[in-house]
């Protein structure tokens, strides 16, 4: 009986949270076009999201490029398809690995950061104070952060892709004497707008989801300081799940538009 009750309460809380998230999203879209625009705060958040994550994304992307090429190279050589390695690596990185890895890292770094920051602001009643002082906390804290992640994640993904491809080129150059020109000719010969466009569009959604989940979790933090940790943790977990769901949907939609 108690188990059944807990199941119902879990489903109940899931549905409530989904509904709250939907309201939260609706409120974001309502606030985003309404004056005054917190441009300064937006730039600050952009700096926090973009510049401060670049090193992490760069290192991860570089290592992914290296490792991916190193791992695929022996098998491709076994098949005698060594010359297809740049094409294979570039398509994998541009289409899937680059966006999803970058987004997951950002979910971990930025999502948890936003969740913890807004959560601590909530539990220390800074948000309430903002409301009292006449500043719209949603607009100042949430809209700027969500916009920043939405616009910065795609840039981070593009840079991460470029660094990953460079890492892949380094391995190809060291192991197989492939020139820079030849490698990138191969890469862009195999790439198409059908590879590039959907993956770039979906990164905007990734950024939006990371900011939205992080802000939502932080904005509605409960149960004091212990809740801050929960908010930060659940922001990462839920953002990651949402990222994969968006990725799946994006691939389905891209398949409809670019199907052959």
């Amino acid at each position: 009986m108690s188990e059944n009750k807990s199941n119902i309460s879990w489903l109940n809380s899931f549905l409530i949270e989904t509904g709250e998230l939907a309201y939260f999203t609706g409120r974001f879209f309502k606030e985003v076009f309404r004056r005054p625009f917190e441009f300064k705060e937006f730039l600050k958040q952009c700096y926090n999201v973009g510049n401060k994550s670049l090193l992490l994304v760069g290192i991860t992307g570089f290592i992914i490029g290296l490792v991916f090429t190193l791992q695929s190279r022996p098998k491709m050589m076994e098949l005698g398809a060594e010359s297809w390695l740049p094409s294979m690596v570039s398509i994998s990185i541009i289409r899937e690995i680059g966006p999803i890895i970058t987004a997951l890292i950002c979910a971990g770094k930025i999502g948890s950061g936003i969740g913890a920051e807004l959560g601590s602001m909530r539990v220390t009643e800074q948000i309430d104070a903002m409301e009292v002082s006449g500043t719209n906390p949603f607009k100042y804290l949430v809209v700027t952060r969500i916009l920043a992640t939405t616009f910065m994640i795609p840039l981070l993904v593009i840079m991460g892709d470029a660094i990953a491809l460079f890492g892949s080129f380094l391995i190809e150059n060291i192991k197989g004497d492939v020139s820079f020109t030849l490698y990138f000719n191969e890469v862009f010969n195999s790439l198409d707008f059908s590879d590039f466009t959907p993956s770039t569009i979906k990164t905007f959604f990734f950024g939006f989801a990371i900011g939205l989940v992080g802000c939502y979790k932080g904005y509605y933090t409960k149960h004091g300081t212990a809740g801050v940790g929960v908010s930060a943790n659940s922001a990462v977990v839920e953002a990651s799940i949402v990222l994969f769901i968006i990725d799946f949907v994006a691939v389905l939609i891209a398949d409809i538009f670019y199907s052959v």
């Binding site: 973009g50 510049n51 840079m159 862009f188 198409d192």
Partner: protein
């Protein structure tokens, strides 16, 4: 405040870098599809495009010159392929150039390959239609291959039968492999063949020596080859010919003589004339024989008488009565000799 400007600068660099990468990627991918350069549209009509897709590459002499812009089916046998080709390249494509759909590598994408024309023709303009032909398709190739496979299976089955028979020692090949006596025979034959060939090589050597010696003049053939000698031989032959003609006339004469002799003999046989009488009458022979013997004795007597007469004549020469006469005779004889001189 300073920190804020520094942050903005860094953010600006970050955003610009990101956008630059984005633009470069768009440019590179777009230029591959001729989105930014000047391009001309060319058409080609095929009856089967073999899975060609919009965006597939166009190649001319191995260089990528454009992409497939659209594929439109006019009816069940005509499919029009619209191709976007770089304008700089179009001037090198002549009106007799041909378009053919092939694969890029063994398992690669389909491509349209433009095969250049003779070069003396006029160049194509934008909107022109290229001539096209279809290469043998993979499914057609596979059909042919399946027939070949069936034939190969039949052949191998037959081969299996043959090899079984050979291994069981049937037939000539089987006998050669299985029967040891044949091997010995073959070995022996080979031995003799080797011997024969050795000896024949010696013989050929000798023949060679002979032939080379024939070129010298110290032998029969050399003599024959001598022109002076051959002229002499010719003379001899002509003389022999003459002689033979003479002999022929002699023989003819002899023939006539013999015929006349024959007729004489015939007469003799018939008992006409003296010869027949002489040869056939035995008493006459006896008489003649007797007469001859008488003649012999008479001749002997005459001889003795002659000798006696010679003695008498010698005695007369020395007789003083007749000595003068004989001296005169001798003198007259000497006078005649002087006169003759």
């Amino acid at each position: 405040m300073e920190k804020s400007i520094y942050q903005k600068l860094k953010l600006g660099i970050f955003v610009l870098t990101g956008i630059t990468f984005f633009v470069i990627a768009i440019w590179l991918i777009g230029s591959k599809q001729n989105l930014f350069g000047n391009s001309s549209d060319l058409y080609a009509v095929f009856n089967n495009v073999n899975g060609l897709k919009t965006g597939n590459n166009i190649r001319c002499s191995g260089i990528k010159v454009g992409t497939v812009k659209s594929i439109q089916m006019i009816n069940d046998t005509f499919i029009v392929v619209k191709m976007s080709v770089e304008s700089d390249i179009t001037k090198h494509i002549k009106t007799d150039a041909k378009a053919v759909i092939t694969t890029d590598g063994l398992v690669g994408n389909m491509i349209v390959n433009i095969l250049p024309g003779a070069g003396s023709q006029t160049t194509l303009q934008s909107g022109d239609t290229l001539r096209s032909f279809s290469r043998i398709r993979t499914d057609e190739m596979l059909n042919t291959l399946s027939v070949t496979n069936e034939n190969a299976a039949l052949l191998t089955a037959e081969l299996l039968k043959i090899t079984k028979e050979i291994s069981s020692g049937k037939g000539i090949v089987g006998a050669i492999i299985k029967d040891s006596t044949i091997t010995d025979d073959v070995k022996q034959t080979l031995h003799f063949l080797r011997k024969t060939s050795y000896e024949s090589s010696i013989a050929i050597k000798n023949v060679n020596n002979l032939v080379s010696s024939l070129n010298k003049k110290d032998n029969l053939l050399g003599v024959i080859r001598d022109t002076a000698l051959s002229n002499q031989i010719k003379n001899i032959v002509s003389n022999i010919e003459k002689s033979s003609q003479d002999i022929e006339t002699v023989i003819n004469n002899l023939n006539t003589t013999i015929t006349s002799a024959n007729s004489t003999i015939e007469n003799v046989k018939d008992g006409k004339g003296v010869i027949n009488y002489l040869s056939n009458d035995a008493t006459l022979v006896k008489k003649i024989d007797h007469t001859v013997s008488n003649l012999d004795s008479a001749m002997i007597k005459i001889n003795t008488a002659g000798i006696k007469l010679n003695d008498n004549l010698e005695a007369l020469k020395h007789n003083w009565l007749l000595r003068g006469y004989y001296k005169n005779l001798e003198k007259e004889k000497e006078k005649e000799k002087i006169k003759k001189k």
